[in-house]
Amino acid sequence: MAYSKPIPIPSEESKPFWEATKRGELLLQHCRDCGAYRFPPNFLCTECSSTSFDWKCVSGRGKVYSYVVFHRAYHPAFAADLPYAVACIELEEGPRLMSNVVGIGPEQLRCDMPVEVVFEEINSDISLPKFRPAAVKS
């Protein structure tokens, strides 16, 4: 069945991010001047306004800052998924992003739950970073 959910369109700023997710890497912009990580991709540093940055591969570890559970489909392609959760993930490096937590049901989600990134290939151009409960360290 054809993929009918919205697909991100990489912008001038976000292209390296989406190129990396295809390779299974989570890249964030890292300011060369103040050291802050930022997301979403942006022309300048939201802390110090520097335009000088590197793309750095980050741990992919973080925690669920908050989450919600959709019981209504705002887009027809999500109707079959109801009820489904969307989470705000806080990465270890600081930035937050919206995503889904896979492998568990919405009722098992909790704030501050540790998670780690996984990548879901949706077509040859785009792989979405999603998250799963972090493996317990032995």
């Binding site: 959910k5 559970v69 489904y84 937050r96 919206m98």
Partner: protein, 379 residues
Amino acid sequence: MTAFLKDKYAIVGIGQSRIGKVPELSDYGLQLTAVKNALDDAGLKKQDIDGLITHSHLLGAVRVHHQRVAERLGINTDFGLSVSSGGATSGLMVQVAIAAIEAGFCTTVLCLHGDKGRTRRPEDVHETAGGNAPEYGMFSATAQHALGATRHMHDYGTTHDQLGAIAVAFRKHASLNPGAQIRDPITLEDYHRSRWVVWPFHLLDCCLVSDGAAALIVTSAERARNLRQPPVYVMGMGRANNSRGWIYGDHMIELAAKESGAKAFRMAGVTPADIDTAQIYDCYTYIVLATLEDYGFCKKGEGGPYVEGGRLELGGSLPTNTSGGMLSEGYVEGMLQIVEAARQLRAQAGPRQVPEAELAIVSGNGGNTVCHSTLILRR
């Protein structure tokens, strides 16, 4: 600082259209109804209006909206401006009106907002829904506000019974308001039984979608004394923006209301204990709870217990959204909050009158918890 503006300006006219389903009127029909009613209320002619500030947010595509209104009303103005700061706009229009009069741009300003939110035809232009992560199924202002509620529940143990108490109180008030869109009283059980939209929000946590418009007229206290209605003085004004976004830092649980409210209280020289009635921007129940915390009616995290036990109901210690609010009276993006505050302070609220109401606080909150405005009004 704005302290020198305290009590120097007043709201002298209020007007609204019918609220709810009004299919027979266009956007401009609703807006002009509100304008005419505000002029009649103030005892002013349209030629007395020399400043016009309008908000056409939901119409989106309408540029220079104030001009479209002025040509339909048939007036020239010295000062005209179309603005948007989301749900903070209503209170900000009053503040910008005062700034414009103080600067000498004009003397009497009409502030207007309203549109056909409910019976708009599909072919009518409408802004597309927001949401910054549709690839993950993240859509709607409801979900963005709901994220804050989830975190508030996690951090402070806030419960659905507490959010429900807000919905129940405002519906009780709407039952006393013949103009309210929905007037059937609800119980906490009804609240719990209403369907989930985006958990943790039930349908009854969410504001209505309405046709409707409202207008306000602002002028100097000096001119206000010769007009038809008792002046409603603008005692305090505040505004602030958590512009780094709703996803950043503590912004989901600590709104720009904190800074905006502090400015308004400082200017007015009063404290939350002095306020007789609150008219709070209630896009969602949770935002009422968070706003009351941020304004200092209780400590951060204590909003849940604070709103229980009928405190926000008529007869309680802080009667809030006495006309039913956007949860039950209708959604005109915060304008009806100012209209109701004025009615209460003029002692014209009929069966829902707060006895001896002297001071009211009004909040506006927009841009998904980012933009905020505060007015403290007195009779």
